[in-house]
């Protein structure tokens, strides 16, 4: 029960075309684990099934779009704990919780923890498939956003601290004169920094820069 599943068709990584999504299944119940794997494979999803959360954590997670189908009540590390644990590891894999009990507080907690869906048994398999597809899509998008952000971040990291400060204030919609006042710089100096920022960040327009700042989450909530 607690051992790693050794079902013959469990390992689906082998037949997947690279770049495809992968579904992680954790369920202590062999039947469930096996039937879910079977289902996902039948719709050309790669599946990685585990008997417990710990087993999954032991392995490296592939850098592909994926989602996690998880029974709330798991032996050892429970579903919610695994969710917390993954969050700590900054692994933003979308989680679809499955529960036979479907109690509200647990669902709320799960959703708050970033679960994408919450399925109560008995659920229709299509619902699960839809959820899985949605989740993987979402993961893919997230991964794309993450990738963009990472790029922006690296650009952002090339900025000097003065430039970064100017960028935050500009992205916040301040006029050059206001920025100069804020930073106690000459307006002209601000213009120079702003030009460098625009250049370094590859922003063609101010709107671009503002969106970049938002993406990076560096929009200073200016008190005004």
């Amino acid at each position: 029960m607690t051992g790693r599943s050794d079902l013959p068709h469990q390992d689906v990584k082998a037949e997947k075309p690279s770049g495809r999504a992968i579904v992680f299944v954790i369920d202590d119940d062999v039947s469930i684990r096996r039937s879910l794997s079977n289902l996902f494979q039948s719709v050309n999803l790669d599946v990685a099934a585990f008997g417990s959360a710990q087993e999954m954590l032991q392995g490296d997670l592939p850098e592909v779009a994926s989602c996690l189908v998880l029974d709330v009540r798991l032996p050892g590390l429970s579903g919610l704990e695994l969710q917390t644990e993954l969050a700590k590891l900054n692994l933003h894999i979308p989680i679809i919780f499955i529960t036979g009990h479907g109690d509200i507080p647990m669902s709320v907690k799960a959703m708050k923890g970033g679960a994408v869906d919450f399925l109560t048994k008995p659920y229709r398999d299509q619902e699960l498939l839809d959820a899985v597809v949605a989740a993987t899509e979402r993961d893919r998008k997230r991964r794309e956003v993450e990738k963009t952000v990472a790029n922006l971040q690296s650009l952002y990291d090339t900025l000097s601290s003065r430039e970064q400060a100017v960028m935050k204030l500009v992205a916040a919609g301040l006029m050059n004169k206001q920025v100069a006042a804020e930073l106690e710089l000459a307006e002209i100096t601000v213009k120079i920094y702003r030009g460098r920022v625009m250049k370094k960040m590859g922003a063609r327009t101010l709107a671009d820069l503002i969106r970049m700042a938002e993406t990076l989450g560096i929009c200073a909530n200016h008190p005004e």
Partner: protein, 844 residues
Amino acid sequence: MILVFSLMGSLIASAMLFVFPFAVLAYFFAPPPFNLRIDNPQTLPVIVAFVVVSIVGKHLIEKVRRERNVALEAAARLRRGEAELRDREKQWREIFEHNPVMHFMVNATGMVLNVNTFGATQLGYAPSELVGHSVLKVFLEEDRPFVRERVGLCIETVGQSHTWEIQKIRKDGSVLWVRENAKAMQWAEDKLVVLIACEDITERKRTETALRRSEAHLAQAQELSRTGSFGWNVATGEVYWSKETFRIFQYDPSTKPTPQLVVDRTHPEDRAAVRETIDRAFQNEEDFEHEYRLLMPDGSVKHLHALARAIRTASGDIEFVGAVTDITAAKQAEQQLRRSEAYLAEAQHLSHTGSWSWDVHRREFVYRSAENDRLFGFDPQEALSIETIRSRIHPDDLPRLQEVPRQAIEDKGGHFEYDFRILLPDGAIRRIHSVAHAVVGSDGKVSELIGTHMDVTEQHAARERLERALAALRESEQRFRDYAETASDWLWETGPDHRITRISEHTSAAILTTKVVGLLRWEIAHDVETEPEKWRQHRATIDARLPFRDFIYRTVTQMGSTIYVRTSGKPFFDADGNFLGYRGVSTDITATIRADQAERELRKAQAELAHVTRVTTLGELTTSIAHEINQPLAAIVTNGEACLGWLGRETPDLSAARRSVEWIIEDGIRASEVIRRIRALAKKGEIEMVPLDVNDIVKEVIALVTRELVSHQVSLRTELTPALPLILGDRVQLQQVITNLVMNGIEAMQTVSDRPRELVIRSSHDDMGRVHLAVADCGVGITEDDADRVFNPFFTTKSSGLGMGLSICRSIVEAHGGSLSIARKQEPGATFQFVLPLHKEVVS
């Protein structure tokens, strides 16, 4: 020459002279006198004849001479008398008249011819009043024939005097004794008269009578008292023995008694003493008294007591006068008495019986036997005061002890008994049973109490022991009677017609309806109609005269309550093999039946309860159970979808589809298995005791509670010893027990957050082959107080739940012959474990 001498009047001289010649002749013509021989035989007759003639001649001569002398004398006297005769006659007349002797002269007819004045006066008559009258007049009527006869005798024997003593009557009627001397004589011509001289002997007669009487009395007294009297004049050697003395010494009364006779008869051993006594008396001239024995010719021994007084006679001699008493009887009696006294004393000692005699007036003991004193602890010499006696009597008994004799004295005699205790100075107590009677004195009052004290201490103790034993026996008997009565077995006998002829008493009245004698068993029973087949078979059995055993039927008691009777019987036959009936025993088994029923009820109730708790547990497990069923169902559905997916591909993946269907089947089976298991738990079935492996049951339970463990984040560790011996048990109930323990363990760990929630199920077996199963949690544990109560029904620490779980578990385990307990351990949590005995058949 002889004749000459004879004439000379001397026979002696003549005889001498007669001898002389022979002497002379012999002298001269030797041989000497002793060799006298007469040479010529012819001369002998001559000599003899001569001698005879000489002697005869001598006698004749002598006789003639004597007669002549007499005649001469008489003549001379006559001559002298004539002269005096006349004077004499006058004198005689005077003498006659005044002689102090009564003289009567009567004729042959008894008529008084003459009487002297004295005689008449003595009789109170004047002579004239008697003369001419019959002399019979002065005699008693009854003596008159005797007088006549005497007078006649005198007449017949004239000249002979006759003497007799007779009574005479005076004129005044008084009587006097006289001694009469009578003689008939020729008076004048041919008339015969009788002369009678009477002497008044009244006084003598009286003395004589008195003496005779006293002699007779003395003799009688001597004879009776076996006392002889004796007299011994020492000086003269004269000895007098009374008749009884002779008798005592067994000498002929004609023997002349001497002191030597006494000594001769004396027992050899006593002779010296007797002789000494006599000698001393003789020398000292003093009284003596001694006892000695006689050895009689027949060898018997007599005991004598002799007492003598030394009396100086008128002549100045010492004379011993005494009495000798045969005290043999007394001596023997004394010996016997002494012996019997010894026996009595011994008997008293042996029987611890003391006898006593109490003088009522003087208020003291007249007699106390030695044993009596021993009982009271008194010194036999000690004079006893009432206080002393009372001090020895147990205070509690004193009032009664005073009352009983008092009552006896009041009742004047009679027999009375009482018990009391003697309190000895050393504190020992003797129990006395006293039997006494009161002796009434001549004054009609009780003078003395005579009784015995018997020491019954031992008997009392023995009796107490006996009583205790008896009490115990009675108790035991009562117990057995109780047993017998409560066991309510009774014996019965039926006759050839199967009617009851006899029934043992104690139960018949109490148990059965009034009269069962004369009834048939099926008339007593109350279940004949409801169970006809049973009775048909029973009647067939007894008709076949076969023994039957443990036949049970129902009836009612007198009180109307239903009872069950179990009866067994055996036919009996007489010597000829004729069937006489049945004998058997019946028992009231109502209680047993009721107990069986009750036990069945109890078992049923227990099973019900177990079932209820089981169902309750199932209720608690609903989510788990739902999960257990939903899991395979969900898998089935999913696999079905997948299967469709595989088939719906452009090139259907048949092998994947097949695999999916196989899994569907597996999961379907799994789901039905869960349902079966749950149904078994929910089932209200009969208990099925079958050989089981506890490990299997544990696995089944785990299957059921897994979800529960998971949902409570409890990890389960199993330490199951393989190849456990089989136990005999009910699978469902044992599952229930283990489930219950597991669920309790999960519950107990609910609040645990600082350590892993781990539940351990451990199975093992011991040397005796018993199977142990422990369920250990690391939960909150059980407090000391609760440990005693957790198995009580309705005990619970949970907010929900019946609290029946452990109670039911324990009854289930105990019904399996095992035990369920809490095992203590150091780490937190609790361990419940049960032990089940080995399945016997497996062992054998």
